[in-house]
Structures are given as structure tokens and as C-alpha cells.
């Protein structure tokens, strides 16, 4: 029983990390209707920039601020160079453009900072919480809990931001209908720049946490892919959905790997999340929190 809770706990916490990756996608999709495949590239770029600055002896907070500023600039540049020229194209075109963007970011990151993997120390050790292990014999890593906490705060802040503030409302208006938003005077370009910058910030947080866990390396780019099943479950436009989706995917993936894996040879983590998402899509194509699409002819 303890082992089960341990696995479940580990899965849930991994799920939080997935949710963090998914958040960036939700933000951009909510505000501009684009599925930004390049979010993974942004995570990689942010993490790599931060780590490289640290390694060159920069103090932690300065490196953080500079990286954040770079991400904001990146967001604005993306909006201007990639999104604006493609503004009336079908979503699939925009999606493919973001795939192209991913490759550009990848090449750029490695060009600037080299391509060896880096370790990242955030000061929180990846060891089980002692008081928990001693009392209940369940091992849950301190780092995982820290990541969960950070993600939780981020989600809460973003949720409040979208629901309660004026800018949040403007973002939701833009996501719904660009023309109408323009008609009531919402400055579209500013909004998109803001959104991409916030997404950049989320990418930074995700990059730091993932990077500390798994090392900052090229594979980080494919965070995008892991986030996909999460987004399918949670819906592409829902922030709480991303969290819930992440938790479900994380938990089921870990449980499947541990309990079902040995029966079929192991390694099912590589595809299990996708199959879950696929089955889910067949039953409920719009996700847990998404809106039902009605085809009007």
C-alpha cells in the first residue's frame, strides 16, 4: 500500500511538471488561437540561457532577470516576424510555422551557448522528505514538492489574472474574436506581445524546474510533445484543465509503468500518455473543460 502511494505521489508530482509545461501552451492558445509548438523550444532556450549565465559567474537574480527580459524580447520578435504575417492563415499553417520556429530556437540556443548538457542547481535537493519517510515509510522528494508548490502558485496567479484583471479580460476577448476585440479598441499587437511574454515567463519557470530535474539538454525541446496529451485531456483553453490533465496523465503514466509495464516488457512510458489521450479523444473530443464544437452548415 505504501508503495502504491509512493508511486501515485511520484506520478502526481510528475504530472504537475507536465501541467507547468502545458500552461504555456494554454496561454498562447487562449489568447491567439495558435498551438505554439515552439513552447518547448522556448523552455529550452530559457533554461539554457539561464544556466549559461550562471556558469559564467553571474549572480542568480541577475541571471533570472536578464533571461526573463530575453524571453520577453523573443516573444515580441515572434509576434512581429512570425505571427503578424500569418494572421489570416488557417491554424494548421500557424502550427507548422511554430514547428519551424522550434528549430530556429534550437539552433540559436546551441549556437549561442553550445550543445553540451548542463546541470542546474536550484538549491533544493532531490531527496525524500525525512519526516514523511520516517513516519509513514513513503518517500516523496523535496524537490518534487517544491516544484508542485511553485506550479500551484503560478496557476493560481494566472487564473486570477485572467478572470479578474482588465488585461485578463482583454486577453479573453482577443481569443474569442480578433475583429470584435479590435472594434472595442483593444490593442491587438500589445496584447499578443504581453501574452507571448507571459508565456515566455512560464517557459522560464518550467525550464528551470525541468532543467533542475533532468538536466538542461536538447531533449527539453520535446516538452511540447509531453504536454500534448495533457492538453487534450484538459482542453486547450483551460488553465485548471491543464493542471487536472497533467495530474491525471502523470499519475496514470507512472502507475501503468510500474504495474502494467513489467507484463509487456517495460518502457511503456514512451507511448502510454498518448494512447490515453487518444482514447479520451474518441469519447470526448473537446477535453474535460473544453467547449463542444457544433458544426453549422
Amino acid at each position: 500500500m505504501n508503495f502504491f502511494i509512493e508511486v501515485l505521489g511520484g506520478g502526481l508530482l510528475a504530472g504537475v511538471m507536465y501541467a507547468l509545461a502545458a500552461l504555456g501552451f494554454v496561454l498562447i492558445y487562449k489568447a491567439s488561437g495558435v498551438f505554439n509548438f515552439a513552447q518547448g523550444g522556448m523552455v529550452f532556450f530559457a533554461a539554457l540561457t539561464f544556466v549559461s549565465l550562471l556558469e559564467r559567474g553571474w549572480p542568480f537574480w541577475l541571471a533570472l532577470v536578464v533571461t526573463l527580459a530575453t524571453m520577453v524580447l523573443l516573444g515580441i520578435a515572434t509576434e512581429r516576424l512570425v505571427l503578424r504575417p500569418l494572421v489570416n492563415q488557417p491554424p494548421i499553417t500557424l502550427f507548422m510555422a511554430t514547428i519551424g520556429l522550434t528549430f530556429v530556437l534550437e539552433g540559436l540556443s546551441q549556437l549561442m551557448w553550445g550543445s553540451q548538457p548542463h546541470g542546474l542547481e536550484l538549491g533544493i535537493p532531490d531527496v525524500p522528505m525525512e519526516w514523511l519517510s520516517e513516519k509513514t515509510n513513503i518517500n516523496i522528494s523535496q524537490f518534487d514538492l517544491f516544484a508542485a508548490g511553485v506550479a500551484g502558485i503560478l496557476v493560481a496567479v494566472l487564473a486570477v489574472f485572467f478572470q479578474k484583471t482588465r488585461i485578463g479580460r482583454a486577453l479573453r476577448a482577443v481569443a474569442d474574436d480578433h475583429q470584435a476585440a479590435l472594434a472595442v479598441g483593444i490593442p491587438l499587437q500589445h496584447i499578443w506581445a504581453i501574452v507571448w511574454s507571459v508565456a515566455g515567463f512560464v517557459a522560464l519557470v518550467a525550464g528551470l524546474l525541468w532543467g533542475a530535474r533532468n538536466g538542461v539538454q536538447y531533449a527539453l525541446t520535446f516538452v511540447a510533445l509531453k504536454a500534448l496529451p495533457v492538453l487534450i485531456l484538459g482542453g486547450f483553453e483551460s488553465i485548471p484543465g491543464a493542471i487536472l490533465g497533467g495530474l491525471i496523465i502523470g499519475a496514470t503514466e507512472k502507475l501503468a509503468e510500474v504495474y502494467v509495464g513489467p507484463m509487456v516488457g517495460g518502457g511503456i512510458e514512451s507511448w502510454f500518455a498518448y494512447v490515453v489521450a487518444l482514447l479520451f479523444l474518441l469519447v470526448r473530443p473537446q477535453g474535460l473543460f473544453g467547449e463542444k464544437i457544433i458544426d453549422r452548415v
Binding site: 522550434t102 487518444l278 479523444l281
Partner: protein, 358 residues
């Protein structure tokens, strides 16, 4: 001057439906094919034949397959590499266990296996559309790769999961030199390209495009959704499967599952975006571009190194490659969403007027 349609009237529908309605085009294609089949293998150097032309043809075939599914039928697929893997490994199995079959029937059967996998993973397309479908194909991509690595019989229980393609003999004649492999690949790809063109200009192609453009309307005029979508997956996967088999037998030699990762799927997707989505010619142009581009970049950087005496590292070149690739995708999507094929069409239209300005 030379490229004129003047005087070429079509007096029957059959003439109008030809693949190359303009006489100069027909002559050009015949000459080109004659050159490709007869001249190139005799004068081509080993490196070009084995490292550039043969893989170009193989990727063109895979791009053709993906174009049928994504370009013509509008079903986005990120599982191309998985279908190629099925083709490669199943061809190996057929040649290993049923050696009396012969290589061409083995390739065909391998393609059919890939088609079967394609149909299974295409089933979600009946409920899921557009972008979400990409997720289903991702599931296929990851699952197939996992299965190949876990199910020992596929690799004949090789310890590392690596297989070695057997020697090819057709009717007793060994196909082993780069020139011979090139001709075999060229023959297979030409036949399949012709078949694809025929398919796409008849009712099957129209049904695919109808489903792509507006599937509700297509259903209303009687086009059967399930059969059409599954047929698209089947045909596309067949093409990718044969491409995979060729990849193993006439190019790689030793095949590992890692040769068929998601990266390869993306690569083929880029080929059709750059070459022209929904176009047979586009598949070839895109494949040529992506196969030749790294070589071109290498030569260019070598040239710059010599000219300026600067050391350009391999890592720099490959990063530049990534940046330029990504940039080109974005560029093509913004400026010419129809890809190289549209640029080719524009060039031909200008050629029709040349030397007159209008």
C-alpha cells in the same frame, strides 16, 4: 520561344486529361527519364549515387506518401517514420522467413503491413479532426517504435535491435553496386509516382480533396467518410512502408529502430511543406531540397573556410542548418504557402512568354 502551347489543341477529353498536356513537357519528361535511367548509372560517381540520389528517391517516395495523406486528404500525420519502420522491418522478416518470395513481392507485402498499421491508427480520424489527429499519429509513432524494440521476433531476436538487410537478388541477378541499387530504387519510385498521379487525378483523389476541403459537404454529396479516410491512411502508409523497405535495403544496409524517430517524421513533413502540399511534383522538389541542402551548406562553409582562412566547426554548420531550415519553413509559409512547386509553376508561366514581357 520554345515553350509554347500555340497550335496544340485538344480535341478529346482524353487529350485534355493527360498528365502532361503540353508537348514540350512530354518531350522533356521522356528525355529526363531516359537520362535518369540510362545515363546517370553509367557516368554517376559512387558517392553521388549511393549518398545523394538514392536517398533522395527514397525520401521522395516517403514524401509522396505523406502528401497523399496530409496534402490531398487533409489528415495531419506525424507518424511517417513509424510506417517506414514497419516497412523496413517487415521486409526484413519476409525475406528472412520466406526467401522464395523474392524481393519485390517482399517489399509489396511489407508495404501492405504498413498499410494495415496505417488503417488501425487511422481509425481515430473518423471522430477526430485536424490538429488533434496529429496526436493519434504521435501515439502510433511512439507505440510502433516501442513494439519493434520489445517484440524480439521482429528483429529476429537480435540483441541490440539492429538488423542487417540481406543482399537483393532479382530473378538470380544480384543488385549490389550503388548504380544497380539506384536503378532499382528509381524504377520502383517511378512506377509508384505514376500510380499516385493517376490516383490523384481520378475519383479517389477528388474524394480525398473533398474530405480535406469540407468534409460535411463531401458526406452530403455521397462520399463515404470512413472508406475515404481509411483508404487515404492505407495508401499513404503503403507508400511510406515501401520507402522504409527501400531505405533499409538500398541505402542503410544495417537498420536500427533509432533510424525511425519523430525527427524523421518531421523531416518528411518539412519536405512536403517546402516542396508543396498536395502536389506530386512538390514531394520530389521538397525531398531534393532537404536532401541537398545540408550538402550545399557543407560545401559553402568549406568554401568560406578556404576563402577567409576561418575554421568553421561542424557544430556551427549543423546549428546553422537548423536555423535556416526553421527560417525557411516560416518563410515559405508566409510568402509562398504552396511551396517550391508553385515557384516552379510561376517559372514555367514566365517561360511561356519568354522572350516577350507579356
Amino acid at each position: 520561344m520554345l515553350y509554347r502551347e500555340a497550335g496544340q489543341f485538344k480535341s478529346s477529353y482524353a487529350q485534355d486529361q493527360q498528365i502532361f498536356p503540353i508537348l514540350q513537357d512530354r518531350i522533356g519528361v521522356v528525355l529526363f527519364l531516359a537520362f535518369a535511367f540510362a545515363v546517370v548509372p553509367l557516368v554517376g560517381d559512387q558517392y553521388w549515387l549511393s549518398a545523394i540520389l538514392t536517398p533522395f528517391l527514397i525520401f521522395a517516395l516517403a514524401a509522396l506518401g505523406l502528401n497523399i495523406l496530409t496534402g490531398y486528404a487533409g489528415q495531419l500525420s506525424l507518424g511517417t517514420a513509424a510506417f517506414m519502420a514497419v516497412g523496413a522491418f517487415m521486409a526484413y522478416n519476409f525475406v528472412l522467413r520466406l526467401p522464395w518470395l523474392g524481393i519485390i513481392p517482399s517489399f509489396i507485402l511489407a508495404g501492405l503491413c504498413a498499410a494495415a498499421v496505417g488503417i488501425v491508427f487511422g481509425l481515430p480520424s473518423l471522430r477526430i479532426k485536424g490538429f488533434y489527429l496529429a496526436v493519434a499519429t504521435l501515439a502510433c509513432q511512439f507505440f510502433v517504435l516501442w513494439a519493434i524494440q520489445r517484440w524480439g521476433w521482429i528483429t529476429n531476436h537480435s540483441a541490440s535491435g539492429v538488423i542487417t538487410a540481406q543482399k537483393i537478388t532479382i530473378l538470380g541477378y544480384a543488385v549490389s553496386t550503388p548504380a544497380e541499387k539506384y536503378v532499382l530504387t528509381l524504377a520502383i519510385v517511378s512506377v509508384m509516382a505514376l500510380a499516385a498521379k493517376n490516383l490523384m487525378r481520378s475519383e479517389t483523389g477528388r474524394a480525398f480533396m473533398a474530405v480535406r476541403d469540407m468534409d460535411v459537404a463531401a458526406a452530403v454529396i455521397g462520399i463515404p467518410m470512413m472508406q475515404t479516410k481509411l483508404l487515404a491512411f492505407a495508401i499513404s502508409s503503403f507508400y511510406c512502408g515501401v520507402a522504409g523497405a527501400l531505405y533499409a535495403y538500398t541505402y542503410l544496409g544495417t537498420v536500427e529502430p533509432e533510424a525511425f524517430t519523430l525527427d524523421l517524421s518531421f523531416r518528411v513533413l518539412f519536405m512536403i511543406i517546402i516542396g508543396g502540399v498536395g502536389s506530386i511534383l512538390g514531394s520530389f522538389l521538397g525531398a531534393a531540397f532537404i536532401t541537398l541542402f545540408p550538402i550545399f551548406l557543407n560545401i559553402a562553409s568549406g568554401g568560406i573556410s578556404h576563402a577567409f582562412g576561418v575554421e568553421i566547426s561542424h557544430a556551427l554548420v549543423s546549428n546553422l542548418e537548423l536555423i535556416i531550415f526553421g527560417g525557411l519553413i516560416i518563410f515559405f509559409l508566409i510568402l509562398e504557402p504552396q511551396g517550391l512547386r508553385r515557384l516552379w509553376q510561376i517559372a514555367k508561366e514566365k517561360l511561356r512568354l519568354w522572350p516577350f514581357p507579356h
